[in-house]
Symmetry: C2
Subunit: 468 residues, 2 copies
């Protein structure tokens, strides 16, 4: 094993980085569970036929083959590939288990996904997603489209407590866009959405050219751009809603579909303004490329890190799955956890208080008395305190150095009467392993904001793949 090369696009972290990632994952899980979302985990693979249902993403699939597979076995449509998101597996899981699930089915799922990007693209090829979805059987009330972004807002409010920057969730509603486009006479709704989706990239002139290429008149293109220009970044969400109605009326485009969507969007904005002020912003240019959204659509910026792109996206889809008898509408949001953690670590925004779980290192006087140290450790662990026993009976200075290097705050000395030393302050006091507890903030590793500027790379990050 001569040389080890990190694989581009497959991020890994040093232990301190993993502690940060776990804290992020634990916080998301806790928030999801507080909101009543139930956990599922699906297998990593799906039949290729499932993965290709949506067409668009076909180039990103990793297929599997057994190293020793029979050469005679021709590829079949039962070929297996790694899932590239958690939505395709959810749809399959719902159909497979529909008779055993209770609807509306609220689930969360936190797992890696894989995309067969070209190595030179510098994109993640493996990354963790954390998804919440609500799936109905036959119907799904619109209030879930309000609930989901508020769960995400709650999760990031919890993450903010240890230094994760705040988020801004931009929301729109497909019915608003579709109702408006049809109202002005543009029926290639998917085509218009795809053009509008590029507004940030190619600008108004570029979008106009694309719309005209689709058969729109200059006036129709201008109308689409006028609607897309409305957002709540400078004005209130309520004003955006009012202006959208005015624009639609001025073009005679306030169709029933438009009004339905606008009412849903207004309800979402009103609830969000009340429950998570400043987090949710109505933005009528948000299109999301995927054809299957039919109601609310969401994307999310990490404030101050907008260059990351959306770190949490999703929307409402009336047909998540269908088995001929029943149709399952859904609404979901997916957090790109690896992208977020890569930035937290890469920019040094947060740091763990230590790189190991242990709060205490129990020193060993000499190897024959190791059992006495083990016994102290067991007593502390019985009361829930994470403890290591020194790996060697070296001089105490060496043993203290072992703790220092890992950030373990306390070293315990076993004797006729035991003593415990806070190696940061040097304070050493008598202690009883049956009763002593560390201060709450030292009990488990804590994640703290560093207030660092972007650019400094702390030692917890081993990044082999950019988040772009």
């Amino acid at each position: 094993l001569a040389r080890i090369n990190p694989l581009s696009g497959f991020p890994e972290w040093l232990p301190g980085g993993r502690i940060v990632e776990q804290q992020v994952l634990d916080t998301l899980r806790r928030t999801f569970e507080l909101h009543g979302y139930t956990p599922i985990a699906t297998r990593a693979v799906e039949p290729l036929s499932q993965l290709l249902r949506k067409g668009e993403t076909s180039k990103e699939v990793y297929l599997l083959r057994r190293l020793q597979a029979d050469d005679s076995a021709a590829p079949t449509d039962s070929d297996l590939g790694l899932h590239f998101d958690l939505t395709v597996p959810l749809a399959r899981y719902v159909l497979e288990n529909a008779g055993k699930l209770h609807f509306p089915f609220k689930r969360y799922q936190i797992q890696p996904v894989w995309r067969g990007e070209r190595p030179q693209d510098g994109r993640f090829r493996e990354f963790i997603q954390a998804d919440i979805d609500v799936v109905g059987s036959g119907q799904l009330p619109a209030h879930f489209e309000i609930e989901l972004p508020l769960v995400i807002a709650d999760a990031f409010a919890a993450l903010a407590e240890f230094g994760v920057p705040p988020i801004r969730i931009s929301v729109n509603n497909r019915k608003v866009a579709e109702g408006f486009y049809r109202g002005i006479g543009l029926d290639d709704v998917a085509g218009v959405l795809r053009a509008i989706d590029k507004l940030d990239k190619i600008g108004a002139a570029g979008v106009t050219a694309e719309l005209v290429a689709l058969g729109a008149t200059a006036e129709q293109a201008a109308a689409c751009l006028k609607l897309a220009a409305l957002n709540g970044h400078q004005i209130s969400n309520a004003e955006v809603i009012a202006q959208a109605r005015a624009v639609a009326q001025s073009y005679g485009a306030a169709t029933e579909l438009f009004e339905t969507g606008l009412a849903e969007l207004a309800a979402l904005a009103a609830a969000a303004d009340q429950q998570a002020p400043g987090v949710v912003v109505v933005d009528l240019k948000i299109a999301r490329g995927l054809d299957y959204y039919t109601g609310a659509v969401y994307e999310t910026a990490l404030v101050g890190h907008e260059d990351l792109g959306s770190i949490c996206s999703g929307g409402r889809y009336d047909t998540l799955a269908s088995d001929g008898k029943a149709t399952y509408p859904g609404v979901g949001l997916s957090i790109g956890v690896s992208r977020l953690v890569a930035r937290l670590l890469g920019a040094g925004l947060v740091t763990p208080s230590r790189t190991v779980p242990a709060a205490v290192l129990v020193a060993v006087n000499d190897e024959p008395s190791r059992a006495a140290s083990d016994q102290v450790a067991a007593q502390l662990r019985n009361r829930g305190i994470p403890v290591e026993v020194s790996p060697s009976a070296a001089k105490f200075g060496k043993q203290i150095q072992y703790a220092e290097r890992r950030g373990i705050p306390y070293v315990w000395f076993v004797g006729e009467s035991d003593q415990v030393k806070d190696i940061r302050s040097g304070e050493q006091v008598a202690a009883d392993s049956q009763t002593w507890v560390p201060p709450q903030e030292d009990w488990w590793p804590q994640i703290q904001s560093t207030g660092a500027q972007a650019g400094s790379v702390p030692s917890v990050a081993v990044q082999s793949g950019s988040a772009k």
Copy 2:
């Protein structure tokens, strides 16, 4: 999407089953962290050259290819495969990051692994492993060979609290076997170990035939079997150690290596007898097939479920990794979590108290007042209570049924003064959302022993792949 077929060998669980699995995983993680093991996660893929280092398992590897890969690109040794265990990734991770890790490096890792078994074999092709390893740089004290099985014993003691059967860890030491075999003149140690490893399968006569085929005399074969017959299932571990020494001396096989190994084994047994009485059993037939073990070896039975095979195996390896400059010895144990959970669910040994996280369903009086129910829910969640809001403002009977189906114990009614009903007892009392808390045992889903007989399959299990 006409039909959904579960994929054989890729187990998935219904939400209640996932809640059980999570409780198992959380318990393992907590135990590992209490013992100071630090978390890492590695990417799912490794270069094929890494995966094939051990030769033996080559048929079990899943290789990846991008669906849209250039046909012109010839396969190279940088081809990627899914890891089939967590040891190969650990070895690579240690070499890649050696300069940034602190040794001895104590890490745990809980992730899925994949093995490209033939579908018809009925084996798991994807399953979760939970590994602990200690890796030294240059050297690794033998006391870690004592520590590791005691951590596992601790983990299963914690699992036993919610109904997981107890375990029995069988231990041996490669030095005992090798020292003995060499002492009686058998130098093909790996060959003898492979034969002894089959003792339970092919019996003494079969092993004798294999040993003779390796060039052993009938007397040498009998000596190997005499040593292998010693175990602590009927007698104490200390007696096994004494008998082993007597057998070795009677054959003139008490070599220095044998005595070193026996002393290590005696120390392990003595510590285990004291700290986890009855869990660790010295068993001199334990060989473990893999060539690279050099000290303690372990395998673990779930008591009453010995047919499962070993659910936690491992050992000491003097060369986990080596980069030419430094050698990294290690000792590790790996729990087959999916195999364990499949049995817990499949045999109905444990059951979750509910299939969703929520302890409370807040009823909705009518859609216009949904915001009032949302506010109660937010207040309860602020104090850490998992809550759902009713998806519809149907008649209260319907809303209570929603809670009943999921096992949610409390329904909250919003009014001039709020009331909360325990739907199991029917008891309904006035309650304040700023102060009310559920009893501790209702707060989060609990996993309970059912005392079930093997054979009954509860509804939490969706098993598509046997644990064999």
